[in-house]
Amino acid sequence: MQYLLLIYQSEAEMEKLGEAATKTLHADYMAFTQQIVQAGHFKAGDALQRTSTATTVRVRNGKTMTTDGPFAETREQLAGYYLIEAKDLDQAVTIAERVPSAKYGSIEVRPIRVFT
């Protein structure tokens, strides 16, 4: 069973974190990623550039509309993701709670849809 862990956090809050805390966070991410790779849970994962670099695309009546920024203004923004393999939701949650950003923002756990 695969789950996508969507990492949401407030970009504004994270900016105020300070150099030392940011460094620790990066080190925590390195360690966490290594752990889940070794345990066989890691399928993929990336960090994203901030939402100010985002472009939103819509096609309406055959016409493409391109706008600056994310689709919706929210308190927390998508900052990255992991695609993991877990035996069930409980295991996925125990992995999600170890994502370093869980202490600052929130981790949305979404099962991957399988088409049969």
Partner: protein, 412 residues
């Protein structure tokens, strides 16, 4: 045996049979369908052939075969559509497992923990528990929560879909998670009870069926997890409250406050059981659960032969324990009531005003209602009237409104 005599067997076995079927067929909805098929078969066969020696084992066995038939038909349909899948899929999905004996307790626990999984919305947890564990039909669950049958059916379908799609495990939690998960289950049971014991809206003060289901669930959980004091504490608390049910309202449905209740109407058998349980739980080492402390408070009320013989100082002490281990605005409110009985209404008014100043319980009618009572006792009639009116504006239940109106009339 008539259909009418078979119905109670279904009601008492539904939860256990479903719990085992889910383990055997590995899918909540398929197991439910198998259970319905088994009930239908029983209604046909039992009146003729007699009730089997073990109705539960019979229902599990038939339900399992019916579920396998359904699974087989599903796979055949898919195969016909060109999505060829091996018949072996059936065998893979249906584990042999034991169908009788000791497995039932474990299956029941698995079912309870799945239904009360924190990944499900609280209202879905409650609905699923009543439907699957208690075996209440969907219309009854809908009635219990004053929503339409269609809405409740949708809620149940969505919950079961989440169980399947997100793969909420059908399992007892890992030991390091067990306590917090038990807390979640107890919260569901207590929600069912309070909804039954003191409905949050509507015309009736109590919905007896829900309170009884909650007690039944707690008894079951206490049997399955005898070493968890919080479970027994909750069971004791519910029994001691439920014991007062006949004295809490007049036949016309008006509220009778604790001080005016005919204590002869209290259910002595439930009180005796509740007292035994609470004494046992409080003797255990370690910090008591908040349920046990609340039960200890209810026990002091139950032990008092008359209202003016209540041991209020000890009740104040217990509320202070509760304020340390489980501080909530409602506990603060109850603490203030107890303080008014020991230190007088002026001291209680200070506590109530502090609570209101923090903006806590701003939509809870009992805060202005208690404040009004305290003001009345202090002889501050105008302020008391204003507070009763504020309470009246917030009260949702008809009997509560009638009580507040009576109080206003008494003030003149």
């Amino acid at each position: 045996m008539s259909a009418g005599a078979i119905e109670p067997v279904f009601r008492s076995e539904a939860g256990r049979v479903l719990a085992t079927l889910i383990r055997l067929v590995g899918d909540f909805e398929l197991a439910e369908e198998g259970l319905q098929d088994a009930f239908a078969a029983a209604l046909e066969q039992w009146p003729v052939a007699g009730v089997p020696a073990s109705p539960r084992a019979w229902l599990v066995n038939v339900g399992r075969h019916k579920a396998i038939d359904r699974l087989r038909r599903q796979i055949l349909r898919r195969a016909k559509r060109g999505e060829l899948e091996a018949e072996a899929a059936v065998a893979a999905q249906v584990s042999p497992g034991d169908e009788t004996g000791d497995g039932f307790g474990d299956d029941m626990l698995r079912l309870i923990f799945s239904c009360c999984h924190p990944a499900l919305a609280p209202e879905a947890q409650v609905a699923l528990t009543l439907r699957a564990v208690c075996g209440l039909p969907t219309p009854a669950v809908a009635r219990a929560f004053l929503v339409g049958e269609e809405t409740m059916a949708q809620r149940l379908v969505r919950a079961k879909q989440k169980i399947r799609h997100a793969k909420i495990p059908y399992a007892t939690p890992e030991p390091d998670r067990l306590d917090e998960r038990i807390d979640g289950v107890l919260a569901v049971i207590y929600l069912v009870f309070t909804e039954g014991y003191a409905s949050t809206s509507g015309a009736e003060l109590m919905r007896e069926e829900l309170a009884i289901e909650a007690i039944r669930l707690a008894r079951l959980l206490d049997r399955l997890l005898p070493d968890r004091p919080a479970v027994r504490g909750l069971l004791a608390l519910m029994l001691l409250n439920h014991a007062r049910r006949r004295a809490r309202a007049t036949p016309a449905g008006d509220i009778v406050l604790l001080e005016d209740q005919d204590r002869g109407l209290w259910d002595r058998q439930e009180i005796a059981e509740g007292l035994l349980l609470v004494d046992e739980v409080l003797r255990r080492p370690g910090r008591p659960s908040s349920y046990a402390v609340q039960a200890a408070i209810a026990a002091l009320h139950a032990r008092a032969p008359r209202h003016d013989a209540t041991d209020w100082p000890q009740i104040v002490g217990l509320y202070e324990v509760l304020l340390r281990i489980h501080p909530t605005p409602v506990v603060e409110l109850n603490h203030a009531v107890a303080v008014s009985m020991v230190d007088g209404p002026a001291r209680a008014l200070d506590l109530l005003d502090a609570l209101a100043a923090r903006g806590a319980l701003s939509s809870y009618h009992l805060l202005p209602a208690v404040r009004a009572d305290v003001l009345r006792r202090l002889g501050r009639r105008d302020e008391a009237r204003a507070a009763y009116r504020a309470a009246l504006a917030l009260a949702k239940l008809d009997p509560e409104r009638r009580l507040l109106e009576r109080r206003l009339e008494e003030l003149g």
